[in-house]
């Protein structure tokens, strides 16, 4: 308090009308595909950030159903006060014309998206931003054929599911995006919506999915040889991830997994190319409707059976009761060290454990480090950006942290031993700490 008078005559307005939190209605966001998972997630994010949100779907009933989902995500009925509902047919022209941001969250179908963008191009206000939610489609291709103004104001935003829980976000400009638009969107997502974001390149699967799905698919390729429970145990949370890899694929959905790895496999040719080839047993499973957690009767790597959890036998395509794997001494040692916050010591155990099983775990972890840091300059601008997206998008230990904990010199030596590429950034590091964050930032990625 500066003086007595200031109490007597305080600034008026209060909570909902400060410049940083504009009153309801002053900033409008239109969400296309508002009844999809990302549509509802985005609606909740924008409304929680103080925006007025228009949720559009094929018909009003679908939009109304989506609103109930938004209320459930927000744990608030009152969030509806910031939300309008509508259908494409009746409300798109008017709502798009009045919006500061058009947020497209339709299904990952380039033709469908393009058809909507043609309409958006026709009705949008000249300075409005058009964002497409995609997990890896080409942003530049989606902008083709649109007006110059549209192209300058168009970019990709990759939210991770569920967005109200996972803060990691990629912003993906295409070559024609106005840098000021990218900066404005990044500031808005960071400051208003609490996103931990990076600017990623417009390349297949962008940065986060490219790096993560390389490891996830690599582990899936190992299933016929090693089995589901063993792999999820050996390369489990103790290797620096909140969730074991095959359980993650079940959560994501096998069809989504396929779309991502096929996209990268078809459109890139990097040092890990063969690791993006979808395993045959997964192709077969997807044909039979086995998509993971979203298809409970068919299952995924796991299935809830009458007698408890069952796991997929990749060779036969049948399920059998899950067995408790291990214990393997070095895995148990790592878990015990994480439980008391000794992450460096745990990585020392991983580095030095003897035997073929430890070799396999090291190969996968080091493969992740190598592949992730090799994407600097290609999928992301810096190793810090890659650390951010792996940490806040996937809850995986950032590659920079793994290098710092294992030691840059030892990491390089191990990468060579396993025939993995040594990223240029590691060769140049000269022993400097790679991870830019605090020791308080990454502990959550090492589960006990």
């Amino acid at each position: 308090m500066k003086n007595e008078e200031s109490t007597a005559n305080p600034p008026r307005g209060g909570f909902l009308s400060t410049p940083e939190r504009p009153a309801t209605g002053s900033e409008r966001v239109v969400i296309l595909g508002a009844n999809g998972v990302m549509g509802t997630g985005a609606a909740e994010l924008f409304a929680a950030g103080g925006f007025h949100v228009v949720m559009l779907a094929r018909d009003r009933d679908k939009a109304a159903h989506a609103l109930a989902e938004v209320q459930s995500l927000a744990r608030s009925e009152a969030i509806a006060e910031q939300i309008e509902l509508g259908s494409y047919e009746q409300d798109l022209p008017r709502s798009v014309a009045a919006a500061a941001i058009v947020f497209e969250a339709l299904a990952e179908d380039p033709e469908l998206k393009r058809a909507f963008f043609a309409q958006v191009d026709r009705y949008r206000a000249p300075d409005s931003i058009v964002a497409t939610v995609s997990s890896g489609l080409s942003i530049a291709e989606m902008a083709q054929g649109r007006s110059e103004s549209f192209r300058r104001h168009f970019l990709g935003v990759h939210l991770f599911n569920p967005p109200h829980v996972i803060a990691g976000t990629e912003v993906i400009p295409h070559a024609g995006t106005d840098p000021a638009v990218t900066a404005k969107m990044a500031a808005l997502l960071g400051k208003r919506l609490g996103r931990r974001l990076i600017v990623a390149a417009d390349c297949p699967a962008f940065a986060g999915n490219r790096i993560a799905f390389k490891t996830l698919n690599e582990v899936a390729q190992l299933v016929p040889e090693h089995g589901v429970e063993f792999l999820d145990y050996l390369i489990g949370p103790q290797t620096g991830r909140a969730m074991a890899p095959l359980a993650t694929v079940d959560l994501v959905g096998w069809d989504v997994h396929q779309a991502i790895v096929d996209n990268v496999y078809t459109r890139t040719r990097d040092e890990a190319h063969p690791l993006f080839r979808l395993p045959d047993y997964m192709k077969e499973g997807i044909r039979e409707g086995r998509l993971g957690d979203k298809t409970p009767p068919a299952g995924g790597f796991y299935r809830r059976g009458k007698q408890g959890v069952e796991v997929l036998d990749a060779a036969s395509g049948r399920y059998r009761p899950a067995q408790v794997p291990g214990p393997i001494a070095f895995v148990e040692r790592m878990k015990a060290l994480h439980r008391v916050g000794r992450y460096r010591e745990s990585m020392e155990v991983l580095k030095t454990a003897p035997g073929a099983q430890a070799d396999l775990a090291r190969r996968v972890v080091l493969g992740y480090v190598s592949y992730a840091l090799n994407r600097v300059g290609e999928a992301a601008q810096s190793s810090t950006d890659i650390d951010t997206i792996m940490s806040y998008g996937f809850n995986w230990a950032p590659p920079g942290v793994l290098v710092d904990l294992m030691g840059a010199g030892d990491t390089v030596e191990m990468l060579k031993r396993y025939g993995l590429q040594v990223p240029a950034i590691l060769e140049r590091s000269g022993g400097r700490k790679l991870y830019a964050g605090s020791v308080l930032d990454f502990g959550r990625t090492f589960v006990g």
């Binding site: 308090m1 500066k2 003086n3 007595e4 200031s6 109490t7 305080p10 600034p11 008026r12 307005g13 209060g14 909570f15 909902l16 400060t18 939190r21 909740e44 994010l45 409304a47 929680a48 950030g49 209320q71 927000a74 744990r75 608030s76 009925e77 009152a78 969030i79 006060e81 910031q82 109200h164 803060a167 400051k191 919506l193 609490g194 878990k335 994480h338 439980r339 008391v340 916050g341 000794r342 605090s438 020791v439 308080l440 930032d441 502990g443 959550r444 090492f446 589960v447 006990g448």
Partner: protein
């Protein structure tokens, strides 16, 4: 003042949104990360720390672990051998640990003390946790067999205001909304990405149930896992520290004043005692006045307050007890926007216990760390402009133990 100066050299807090049980972590990990983060943030070598004090309420219950002072040593071998202790005064445990550490510095025993506040609460479900928290009241009389005793006790604080002066729940809802709004600016706040609006907080609904008495879910602080470490130093150490960092000693914040009072443990006894007093919790008022007097400041010199909003009613109480309004008129400050970020007297720019989270034993330390951040202009998006002196108020029980600090230069 002839009392030797106690400097604050900063520190760090864990991300209060984390669930350490989900990470399958022992409380040792929680403390270790806070200590290592604090050492890193303050640029202090572990080997320099001479004494450590831990504030914690109920690790014996929540984590089946006592003797927390000793766990400080787990952070770094260089801490081996230092004297440690643990302090408990319910939700004021953190402030008591700060008082103990600062007393040692004032007495000239040590030059550099570490204070760690810690609580791991997500080890149990809400009902069990509520029962554990009941031990901060007179358990047999006020909590045993009662579901969520504390919301009920602080609901009664609201009722007492209502009886004496009148109280509208809309003012409580506004307090909740301000705290949540501030928390969105704090990257370590538990609720930083939660939805909240004044409208939501105003109404009982499916998602905003009555927890006890007039207290709805939106009036409550959070169940939080968290730890905070800060460093207190003598003038000798601070001078050397400032020299090392090439800054002027005068730029380092100090504990300018402190207050520490205790009221009868039972809520009924408190109310009976204050029947003829304009202040509902006069010992809390006195703790604030003591801190101001020792700091030789008046409210007009305070830039912001970090107060104990375990419930909206406790922040409502703090407003008049700090003297921002006359007794019973806290609603005026609420209506006039005084307590908001950008207002004349921002309260809880961090989001407070409602927005930032309330790891019980860590809260008092977190408040002082946030006060440090404000007066060193390092509070980021929740910075109060030109904050020079910031006051804290940390309360244990139903207004039983009250601790206040004035932090500044």
């Amino acid at each position: 003042m002839s009392q030797p100066a106690v400097f604050i050299l900063g520190g760090a807090q864990t991300d209060f949104a984390r669930n350490w049980s989900k990470e399958n972590k022992h409380i040792a990990a929680l403390m270790r990360e806070a200590v290592l983060g604090g050492l890193e943030a303050a640029a202090i070598e572990a080997g320099e720390v001479q004494t450590a004090h831990v504030g914690n309420f109920a690790a014996e219950l929540y984590a089946h672990q006592g003797h927390l002072g000793a766990f400080v040593l787990e952070a770094d071998p260089a801490l081996s051998g230092i004297p440690t202790s643990r302090h408990e005064a319910a939700c004021a445990s953190g402030s008591i640990a700060i008082l103990a550490a600062s007393a040692e510095i004032e007495a000239g025993r040590y030059d550099l003390a570490m204070v760690v506040g810690v609580e791991q609460m997500k080890t149990v479900d809400a009902a069990v946790g509520g029962d554990y928290l009941g031990t901060a009241a007179w358990y047999e009389r006020e909590a045993r067999g009662i579901e969520f005793p504390f919301p009920k006790l602080f609901g009664r604080l609201g009722d007492e205001y209502d009886k004496r002066y009148g109280l509208k729940d809309e003012h409580l809802a506004h307090i909740a909304a301000v705290n949540y709004s501030n928390a969105r600016r704090n990257p370590l706040a538990q609720t930083r990405n939660w939805y909240m609006s004044e409208s939501h907080a105003s109404r009982q609904s499916r998602y905003n149930a009555i927890i006890g008495g007039r207290i709805k879910a939106s009036d409550c602080s959070q169940v939080t896992d968290g730890a905070v470490a800060i460093f207190l130093a003598s003038q000798n150490y601070a001078r050397e520290y400032a020299r090392r960092r090439n800054i002027d000693l005068d730029r380092l914040p100090r504990i300018l004043g402190w207050g520490h009072r205790t009221a009868p443990v039972e809520f009924e006894a408190k109310v009976a005692e204050s029947r003829d007093n304009p202040y509902v919790l006069p010992h809390t008022r006195q703790a604030i006045l003591d801190a101001f007097k020792r700091a030789n400041v008046s409210l007009q010199q305070i830039s912001a307050i970090e107060t104990h909003d375990c419930f909206t009613t406790s922040e409502y109480m703090a407003i008049d007890h700090f003297g921002i309004t006359r007794p019973g008129e806290s609603w005026k400050a609420v209506e006039e926007g005084v307590i908001e970020l950008g207002g004349a007297m921002p309260i809880n720019p961090s989001g407070g216990l409602i927005g930032a989270g309330h790891p019980v034993g860590a809260t008092g330390v977190r408040q002082v760390l946030d006060a440090f951040r404000q007066v060193t202009a390092t509070a980021g998006d929740y910075q109060v402009e030109e904050a020079a002196k910031v006051a804290t108020l940390n309360i244990g029980g139903s207004g039983t133990t009250s601790c206040a600090f004035v932090i500044g230069r």
